[in-house]
């Protein structure tokens, strides 16, 4: 499931998007895959969870 939380970075608030089941997420508008994403608010993108599990250190 996609999880989105607002996080504070210094004086800025960003939207943190990630999968709660350790899967890559897909930024729909750009078709770009991320492990997790930090975006400005309001976020310009929508995300969906992929079936691919995150494996750290992979190319």
């Amino acid at each position: 499931m996609i999880v989105q939380k607002e996080v504070n970075l210094g004086s800025r608030t960003l939207l943190h998007t990630y999968s709660d089941s350790n899967k890559y997420i897909l930024q729909v508008e750009t078709n770009t895959k991320y492990d997790e994403a930090y975006d400005v608010i309001p976020c310009r993108y929508t995300y969906v969870e992929t079936e691919e599990e995150i494996k750290k250190g992979e190319e």
Partner: protein, 205 residues
């Protein structure tokens, strides 16, 4: 085509040329007074001009017979290791300590870790990415505690993961094409570094 349209087209072309010139001016500045660490100082007296498809990695080799391996995605046609050796192999052994500039042609991405060994990543001082590098994978610049600058030459915002760079371990400055500075500052995951993103035209100031 009407005169007005032709003038507008010419004006746009002039703007594009000016942007390119700004980029080139940034790259041809002498690279000197680079502080590698408290115990060593990198001294690059040469001037480097970035061309299309060329990535430059500035490293300090701390020990003799030091073997390193680069991790790039895409096709690599040439690696100039900066010690008189040029080949197309991504592994090399430096016989002497010192500061070297590696030139890689060309690649499309940088994998984790850029030097294939987390500890070796500390050797990297600067990285000038060619316009063919469009993504930096997860962990690519992990442990690059001495990384001072990353210069990006692609004409679009390149993709990074949330952990491509450490968010708090060092103070790397990112130089991007002038016309993309604002795009980078709000781009996914780049927002973490918004206060460290600068226009290429300010490189060396």
């Amino acid at each position: 085509m009407g005169l007005k349209n032709r003038i507008e087209n010419n004006t746009n072309e002039i703007k594009k040329v000016n942007e390119k010139l700004k980029v080139l001016n940034g790259f041809v500045r002498p690279l000197s007074n680079l502080n590698f660490s408290q115990s060593a100082t990198a001294n690059y007296s040469a001037t480097y001009t970035i061309k299309d498809n060329e990535t430059y990695i500035f490293i300090h080799i701390p020990t003799t017979n030091k073997a390193i391996t680069l991790r790039f995605g895409g096709t690599i046609t040439s690696v100039d290791w900066g010690d008189g050796t040029t080949d197309a192999i991504l592994s090399h052994t430096y016989s002497a300590t010192g500061d070297y500039v590696i030139k890689v042609i060309s690649g499309t991405s940088i994998c984790s870790y850029i030097l294939d060994n987390l500890d070796d990543n500390k050797c990297i001082l600067k990285c000038y990415l060619s316009n063919s590098i469009l993504s930096l994978n997860s962990g690519a610049f992990s442990n690059c505690y001495n990384l001072q600058q990353v210069v990006i030459n692609a004409d679009t915002v390149i993709t990074i993961y949330s952990d491509t760079f450490s968010t708090d371990a060092y103070n790397t400055k990112f130089y991007v094409p002038d016309n993309l500075v604002e795009d980078y500052k709000v781009a996914t995951n780049w927002v973490n570094f918004a206060d460290r993103i600068y226009p290429l035209s300010s490189l060396g100031e």
